[in-house]
């Protein structure tokens, strides 16, 4: 018997009360329960029953709600659902009742229905702060809460603070308490979409106050602050986004604080309820989030802001420091002066640029909150440790092991650390960044299945023959990881916490690579494009952890060293044949170049430099390109193997970089060009979008087309960009003809790199994440 009445012996019956899923929109608690239910539904060892409002909700109906992120469908003909008592009858008839476990995700009956029961407790604000709630709501919540708590075998608290409150107020012993911190399921692409819509246009600075208008959310503290410090409103607008709940109306509060004029003038804005898209847009554009709540069980909006890259000014109350850690600007929710001090700190950091470091750290911290961990704690609490022992290790959320020796490395980076290829360079950058962060970072080089030349010795001093650290970071792609692990197994510490930093250039992760994900504990996605691609299929933490774009500036090169003409305007493009010529799309570059500067047969003093790698290893492809450009005196093809410094010098010797790729997982060439102060023209798709915006470069329009068989591995169901060559040609002409715009955008690009991708920022981000993992370990 199962929740859908199909039998499967040996499974554990679990009855889940899913009251919160009746909500129209799945935000807040309904979103939490949706995350948990999605995981329950994936378990083949569970015999699931869902109950809501005294009805037995079949599994398919629950799946539909999860798909739609809404409980609206449940309201349609509720009589179609059987009464919930039928669950108990069925379990009794099948003799399963003694093995049945119950989970209550909201209020529960004040008596036991199943032999073992758990209840999720979000917060006790109704009990602790009755003055912040309507009297009837307080009475309804509290009247039998003691009994609800007493008859629950295990209580899942969404923060340490809630657990502490439960212990103090109701005397619940530690043996019945589990802390199941909530997860971060912020869709990184939503924020990216908003950024794209903004197109880098400046946004008038505003502070965002999220939360409904009610005493507990404490928006009035912000109003009082603004009343005492009207100069703040001259500098920023303050936007209050949240529905009018209970207590004094927002307008009454504004009036009481003497801020009517500011409201009328639009310096204070009240949006009332905002939907998710609007909320994301507000978060993306905000100079900071103010969260003045008096008491929270967790503080999801804070996590949301941190994941979005918005600085947070957070109340220091209850659970909120558990979420924000040392990555925010705190204030006392009872003190206007304290809020003002927090604002001054944020303001100073905005002026100095230090806020970027803060948000980078916050982003790394936010990535560490996973619903997998939440789920894990709940399943363990309901079914006991024995269940966990039967699971495959790395499918479960793990913690790093304890240090066993003072000689061991802090972290080992495993990758193609000598290979002259992009992934090898990524591994070396990671190793250098971790060292820069002050960690004892050591490399373990592999060349398994790699055809690239092992010519880069820049990290040799950091290499060791084994990996004995508690953390292992694999700069290896998903397709190769299982083989590399098997190959290096004798020299790898077995219990290390494993992190993978993979690349993949298309928007869907092939299913065939999912086993690789099971081999690691978390993933550091070098770009948001990769992060979005992974989070669609991967249930474990996927953090955005960019590569530090830091390298030694090349010595000045004379163009003649490469046989290039002086005095001509040179466009540059480079690619590796191993990276698939169809994807790198040099043909489009050549077409665009010709269309831009050859119309009417004029040459116009502009030339194109193509630098390729491994043409000799893939001779047919190399020959095809050579044939194409052989007779064109303005296209220079450089096929010789260059050192990294020489490659950078070559870029520096040219005037602009153009890449019309179909899709990029990273776009190292673009990043290098920006660091070197070169204008960049790039397809406005995939990872390079993070770097090339209308503010920092010249993005090129495209349309998405299916990837054809033979063009790229795992092509089925994949799409990529077909660049608009005319637009590319137009952009190339702009670069050549508008030096003022070039100057402006080059400066903006360098600022972007310094803010988000500098060695210090990325090192801090990595360090923050590892420290957070360490805290959990300890």
């Amino acid at each position: 018997m199962t929740g859908d009445t199909n039998g499967m012996a040996g499974r554990r019956p679990l009855v889940v009360d899913i009251g919160p899923l009746r909500e129209r929109f799945y935000t807040g608690i309904p979103n939490v329960i949706a995350e948990l239910c999605a995981r329950f539904l994936r378990e083949d060892w569970l015999d699931l029953y869902f109950e809501m409002d005294e009805r037995w909700i079949d599994n398919d109906s629950v799946r539909r709600c999860l798909d739609e992120r809404s409980g609206v469908s449940l309201a349609d003909r509720p009589e179609r659902f059987r009464p919930a008592r039928a669950i108990r009858d069925a379990l009794r008839e099948a003799g399963l009742m003694p093995r049945t476990v119950g989970l209550y995700t909201d209020l529960r009956p004040p008596r036991k229905l199943y032999p073992r029961e758990g209840k999720i407790v979000y917060d006790l604000s109704m009990v602790l702060t009755p003055e912040c709630h309507p009297p009837h709501a307080h009475a309804m919540f509290v009247h039998d809460l003691a009994e609800q708590i007493a008859c629950s075998d295990v209580l899942f608290c969404i923060s340490e603070a809630t657990a502490r409150d439960l212990a103090w107020i109701y005397g619940v012993g530690a043996e019945r308490l589990r802390v199941a911190l909530l997860g971060n399921n912020v869709d990184p692409t939503a924020a990216e979409r908003m950024r794209t819509l903004l197109q880098g246009r400046p946004v008038e600075p505003f502070l965002l106050v999220l939360g409904s208008i009610e005493p507990r959310k404490n928006a009035v503290l912000v109003l009082r602050w603004l009343a005492e410090h009207p100069e703040v409103l001259e500098e920023v607008r303050v936007v209050f986004a949240g529905r009018q709940a209970w207590g004094q109306s927002f307008t009454a509060l504004v009036e009481a604080c003497g801020l009517q004029q500011a409201l009328d003038a639009g310096r204070i804005v009240f949006t009332s309820y905002v939907d998710e898209a609007f909320r994301t847009a507000l978060l993306v554009g905000a100079a900071g989030l103010i969260y003045p709540s008096v008491l929270e069980g967790f503080g999801l909006p804070l996590l949301e802001a941190m994941a979005t890259g918005t600085p947070v000014m957070s109340s220091v109350s209850s659970s909120m420091p558990e979420v924000v850690g040392e990555c925010g600007y705190y204030f006392d929710p009872c003190s206007v002066a304290s809020l003002h001090a927090a604002w001054l700190a944020l303001r100073a950091d905005r002026a100095s640029g230090a806020v970027a470091t803060m948000t980078a750290r916050a982003g790394a911290r936010a990535g560490g909150f996973s619903y997998d961990s939440t789920y894990e704690v709940i399943v363990e609490g309901l079914f006991g440790l024995k269940w966990r022992a039967n699971r495959i290790d790395r499918r479960a959320t793990r913690q790093p092991p304890a240090r066993t020796s003072i000689d061991e490395a802090d972290i080992n980076v495993i990758g193609y650390l000598r290979a002259a290829m992009g992934l090898g360079e990524a591994g070396r950058l990671t190793l250098r960044t971790l060292s820069y962060a002050g960690l004892k970072a050591r490399g373990l080089e592999t060349s398994l299945n790699s055809n690239s030349r092992r010519t880069d010795r820049s990290c040799d001093t950091l290499l060791e023959p084994g990996a004995n650290g508690r953390f292992q970071l694999f700069s290896i792609n998903c397709d190769q990881l299982p083989q590399v692990l098997a190959h290096l197994q004798p020299v790898l510490r077995a219990d290390a916490y494993r992190i993978m930093a993979p690349f993949w250039e298309l928007s869907n992760l092939p299913d065939a690579w999912l086993p690789a994900v099971d081999e690691v504990d978390e993933i550091w996605a070098p770009t948001r494009f990769i992060q979005a691609m992974l989070t669609k299929k991967v249930g474990k933490p996927v953090l955005h952890m960019p590569l530090a774009l830091d390298f030694e500036q090349p010595a000045p090169f004379k163009r003649r060293r490469f046989g290039l003409p002086e005095g001509e305007f040179l466009f540059f493009f480079a690619f590796d044949y191993f990276s698939f010529i169809e994807r790198k799309n040099p043909m489009a570059v050549i077409k665009a170049f010709k269309r831009a500067f050859r119309s009417g047969g004029e040459r116009g003093g502009t030339q194109l430099v193509l630098k390729t790698l491994n043409a000799d290893v893939l001779p047919e492809a190399g020959a095809a390109l050579r044939d194409l450009v052989r007779d064109d005196p303005d296209i220079f093809l450089i096929e010789s193997l260059l050192s990294r410094q020489d490659t950078l010098g070559l870029i520096a010797a040219c005037d602009a970089v153009v890449t019309l790729h179909r899709s990029e997982g990273l776009g190292l060439l673009v990043a290098e060009a920006m660091v070197l102060g070169k204008p960049v023209i790039s397809t406005d798709y995939s990872a390079t979008m993070e770097l090339v915006t209308p503010v920092t470069g010249w993005p090129v329009d495209y349309k998405l087309i299916p990837v054809q068989a033979g063009e790229y591995p795992f092509h089925a169901g994949q799409v990529w960009a077909d660049v608009d060559v005319d637009h590319a040609a137009w952009q190339m002409r702009q670069v050549k003809e508008d030096p003022v715009a070039v100057q402006r955008k080059v400066v903006a690009a360098r600022e972007l790199i310094a803010r988000d991708f500098s060695l210090g920022v990325v090192a801090q981000r990595q360090l923050e994440r590892l420290k957070l993992l360490d805290e959990r370990c300890c």
Binding site: H143, E160, V294, V316, S317, E326, C334
Partner: protein
């Protein structure tokens, strides 16, 4: 010296907007006065004090760092038992002035804060205002209960013209608006009866925390009880006003205190320190003063408390009120005392109160408290 974080705000007082005293708590005035006394006592002993509105919300090291909490600091909560909340991470000391013999040990009505015994046992120390409260708590299993009343200094002795009659017959009652039934009880009827029997008596009833409506209602009930314009004129009802009780003792011969419940009655202590002998039930005076320092009002059998004590909906709280006849007899007995007897009585009372509520006594108690809060938190 360490900082003591003092919390005494209750319910709506804790909102950023809405600082008006809550009407959901009776006896609020008395709690505020008690809190001010403890804070003054701590400062006099060299401690720093800092107000904290919602101690329970500062749960993390980050929060404590923001508030400037240092090792050795502690938290003092001065409020009714059901409003006590902890300050996690620092020793919690609760002040208790529970005036009844019964204590709840169950979450009555579903409220965990009505399990008084459990709540008080969570404290590192409970400072009881009287030995009566300490003994009640210890009998219920609250082992860390100690008697530590605040230091109380004599009130100003200047006279305030409130229409007294001649010396020897001037009585003063100071009651709280939230405890009229318990503290005033048969006072009016008893005094009116005495005034009918002896000329020249006058009584001023000062109501703390009263609004105009309460004062008006009280005047109305005086008129109904006395039903005699002449007698009616002998009883005046005044609010404490912005001046508080200052100046009231200067021209008072006796404090009339018919409180039906035990616990620390601050006006009684003030009167003793001001050299005003009390005419009092032994409930209010229990443990505070020798019998010869007061004119006693006899009390009758226990009756259910009639004040609006929140927990009184669930457990029977009993008080020992006097009868009107007992008040009348005590008033007449006091009025019959000559000046010398009154002075002797006042001297004994002042000495007793001075010893008990002195700074040195409080300071010594604080020394002992240090050892108590250094023990592992319950």
């Amino acid at each position: 010296m360490p900082t003591v974080f003092v919390s005494d705000a209750i319910l709506e007082e804790r909102l950023v907007v809405g600082h008006a005293p809550t009407d959901r708590v009776t006896g609020l005035h008395g709690w505020k006065a008690l809190s001010a006394l403890y804070q003054g006592s701590l400062v006099a002993c060299g401690y720093r004090t800092a107000p904290i509105v919602r101690p329970e919300i500062y749960q993390t090291g980050i929060a404590r760092r923001m508030l400037g909490v240092e090792p050795g600091d502690w938290h003092l909560a001065v409020k009714p038992i059901e409003h006590l909340r902890p300050f996690h991470g620092v020793p919690n000391v609760f002040v208790c002035n529970w005036p009844f013999a019964a204590l709840s040990s169950d979450p009555l009505g579903g409220s965990p804060f009505f399990d008084q015994v459990r709540l008080l046992r969570l404290a590192d120390a409970v400072l009881c205002c009287t030995d009566f409260t300490r003994d009640t708590l210890r009998a219920a299993g609250v082992e860390r209960a100690v008697t530590v009343p605040p230091c109380i200094t004599p009130p100003p002795m200047r006279e305030r013209d409130i229409g007294w009659s001649h010396p020897g017959c001037r009585f003063l009652s100071i009651v709280e608006a939230g405890h009229l039934s318990r503290q005033l009880g048969p006072t009016i009827a008893g005094f009116a009866e005495a005034a009918r029997l002896q000329d020249g008596l006058s009584l001023v009833i000062c109501v703390q925390g009263a609004d105009a409506r309460i004062l008006s209602d009280l005047r109305q009930s005086v008129a109904e009880v006395t039903s005699d314009p002449v007698v009616d004129e002998t009883i005046s009802i005044i609010g404490a006003g912005p001046e508080g009780e200052a100046g009231l003792y200067g021209a008072t011969d006796f404090l009339l205190c018919a409180d039906a419940a035990a616990g620390l009655h601050l006006p009684l202590v003030d009167a003793l320190l001001a050299g005003v002998p009390p005419v009092t039930t032994l409930n209010a005076g229990t443990g505070l003063l020798p019998r010869e320092a007061a004119v006693a009002i006899a009390t009758e059998r226990p009756v259910p408390d009639r004040d609006d004590e929140p927990i009184g909906r669930f457990i029977e709280l009993v008080t020992n009120p006097p009868t009107a006849d007992a008040v009348r007899d005590a008033v007449l007995a006091a009025a019959a005392l000559d000046h010398a007897a009154r002075s002797r009585m006042a001297g004994i009372g002042r000495q007793a109160a001075g010893d008990r509520f002195s700074l040195s006594a409080f300071s010594a108690a604080m020394g002992r408290l240090g050892a108590l809060v250094s023990l592992p938190t319950p």
